[in-house]
């Protein structure tokens, strides 16, 4: 935003939205990283903290929604301002979903506590979550700078997460086939992996929203997809 509004209160309202989004982003990021850490370390206390933090995120999303509605009603925003406000609403709802995914992962910590997470799988999950969190962190940085090029670059990176998820899916299936006693744990881990993969999708959504906020156009071309787990049915040798 190069220039300021004649009405400074209008600028304050837009800045408020932008600040709250950044705060939500920081918290969502923390929750997801804590959830995965709780999972691999079987840390129930940390998992509990993630679950209770989700309330803050839900609350923030509602506040951003209320404030955006009031701003629309009072200012009748147009052009870049309108895109900014509509974009804030979308991003807030994406971040709220990211929080839910972190919470869901945290809830499963208790279920897998008994057996623990096999070392190899834990590494896979951590790697997947590193990728997703980098994606989330980068997209939040791009939100701060509103760079359309960088937003587009992030969007094309989702591929890596999808590929990693597919390979983890394959691995979990193998574990389950090796020993049916692994099925409970592996099913939970499968959901956790899916949760993390979905975080990457939300980061991509946010990147697309930022692109739209900045340019007024939708990014061109289909978003890259490399999640082939949905066709991965029969790998019985």
């Amino acid at each position: 935003m190069a220039s300021t509004h004649i009405l400074s209160a209008y600028d304050d309202e837009l800045k408020y939205l932008s600040r709250r989004i950044s705060e939500m982003g920081g918290l969502a990021e923390q929750m997801c990283s804590d959830a995965v850490r709780a999972l691999v370390n079987s840390d129930a206390a940390l998992a509990q903290k993630v679950i209770s933090d989700d309330v803050i995120l839900d609350h923030a999303e509602r506040e951003i929604g209320d404030k955006a509605i009031v701003t629309i009603a009072r200012r009748q925003p147009v052009a870049a301002d309108l895109r900014e406000i509509v974009g804030s609403l979308r991003i807030a709802s994406d971040l709220e979903r990211v929080g839910d995914l972190g919470k869901n992962t945290a809830k499963r910590v208790i279920a897998v506590q008994g057996t623990g997470v096999p070392r190899k799988l834990a590494r896979g999950l951590e790697h997947l979550s590193d990728l997703a969190l980098v994606q989330l962190k980068d997209v939040l940085d791009v939100y701060a700078t509103r760079s359309a090029e960088k937003a587009e670059a992030i969007r094309s990176r989702d591929e890596e997460i999808d590929a990693m998820y597919t390979s983890l899916f394959r691995e979990l299936l193998t574990y389950m086939m090796e020993d049916p006693r692994n099925i409970t744990t592996c099913t939970h881990l499968l959901f956790c992996a899916k949760n993390i993969e979905r975080i990457g999708d939300h980061a991509t959504n946010i990147a697309e929203t930022i692109y739209y906020m900045t340019t007024g156009a939708q990014p061109e071309g289909d978003r890259p997809k490399d999640d082939s787990s949905n066709t991965l049915g029969a790998i019985t040798e």
Partner: protein, 271 residues
């Protein structure tokens, strides 16, 4: 009556608009008030059956351009217009053009409602009478009723046609002025901030009227209210310092304008 649904009518109008012929064409239009140049080589075409809104800060030349379209600037001393403006194929600044006839084809509604201090009936009948548009009383009654109907005022005034037009409320007076403009069957209606003296309800009625008139007339409206331009027009032209900055579909103009000056102006930012 044809049985087209509302949306079908809208669609047909939009279709008509997209392959719209240009009703009026302004080419390299410049205006000077004495030494001072108010417009700089404006190229702006007005599409048929379309509401075109002219926006821009005070003194940007939008009203000046509007007044060129029916030669209202002729009435201002020292005012000189260069360039070319055509209505259909006719050059409106041609010596051979009858200005009175031109203003019947290109009607105008002003900022402040200005009914004649006469009866409602006479306000409408005056134009058709001097232009010889009616043969007898019954004919004139018909024109008066049709004009008031079209302006959405008939129901409110049909029992008091012979009372003074100045006794109406501001909003009714403005619709009376629109009815008066319609009475001479113009092709184009120019409106110079037609709602700036009206309350929101009267404004909404005039805007609804503009929306309906689009089916039969070509409308050019100057407005200071950005929201009004967004609500009533299909095309928007932005003026700044006597120049045409951008002309675009209204949808595009208010979501993603091409020019930074347009963006700053409509968003209420410092340039």
């Amino acid at each position: 009556m044809n049985m087209m649904s509302e949306s079908a009518v809208e669609k047909a109008l939009d279709q008509k608009m997209s392959d719209a012929s240009h009703k009026m064409i302004g080419k390299d239009v410049s205006v000077y008030y004495g030494e001072k140049r108010a417009l700089f080589d404006v190229n702006l075409n007005v599409r048929e059956n379309t509401v075109t809104a002219l926006i821009g800060p005070s003194g940007c030349g939008k009203s000046t351009f509007l007044r060129c379209l029916n030669r209202m600037n002729d009435t201002i001393e020292n005012c000189r217009v260069t360039g070319k403006i055509t209505l259909d194929a006719d050059d409106i600044y041609d010596q051979a053009i009858d200005v009175v006839e031109l203003r019947a084809r290109v009607g105008m509604v002003f900022q402040k409602p200005n009914p004649f201090p006469k009866t409602i009936y006479e306000n409408i009948s005056y134009g058709p009478r001097i232009h010889g548009l009616s043969k007898n009383k019954a004919d004139m009654d018909q024109i008066v009723e049709a004009s008031l109907q079209r302006a959405g005022l008939w129901g409110e005034v049909k029992d008091r046609l012979h009372e003074s037009g100045t006794g109406l409320s501001g909003g009714q007076q403005q619709r009376l002025c629109i009815a008066r403009a319609i009475a001479v069957s113009p092709e184009v209606i120019l409106m110079d901030e037609p709602c700036s003296a009206l309350d929101p309800i009267a404004t909404a009625k005039v805007e609804e009227l503009i929306h309906e008139l689009r089916a039969n007339y070509t409308i050019v409206i100057v407005t200071h209210s950005m929201q009004q331009a967004a609500r009533v027009s299909q095309r928007t032209a932005m003026f700044h310092l006597g120049q045409l900055v951008e002309e675009n579909d209204t949808d595009k103009m208010f979501t993603n304008p091409d020019d930074q000056r347009t963006q700053d102006y409509i968003m209420g930012r410092f340039g």
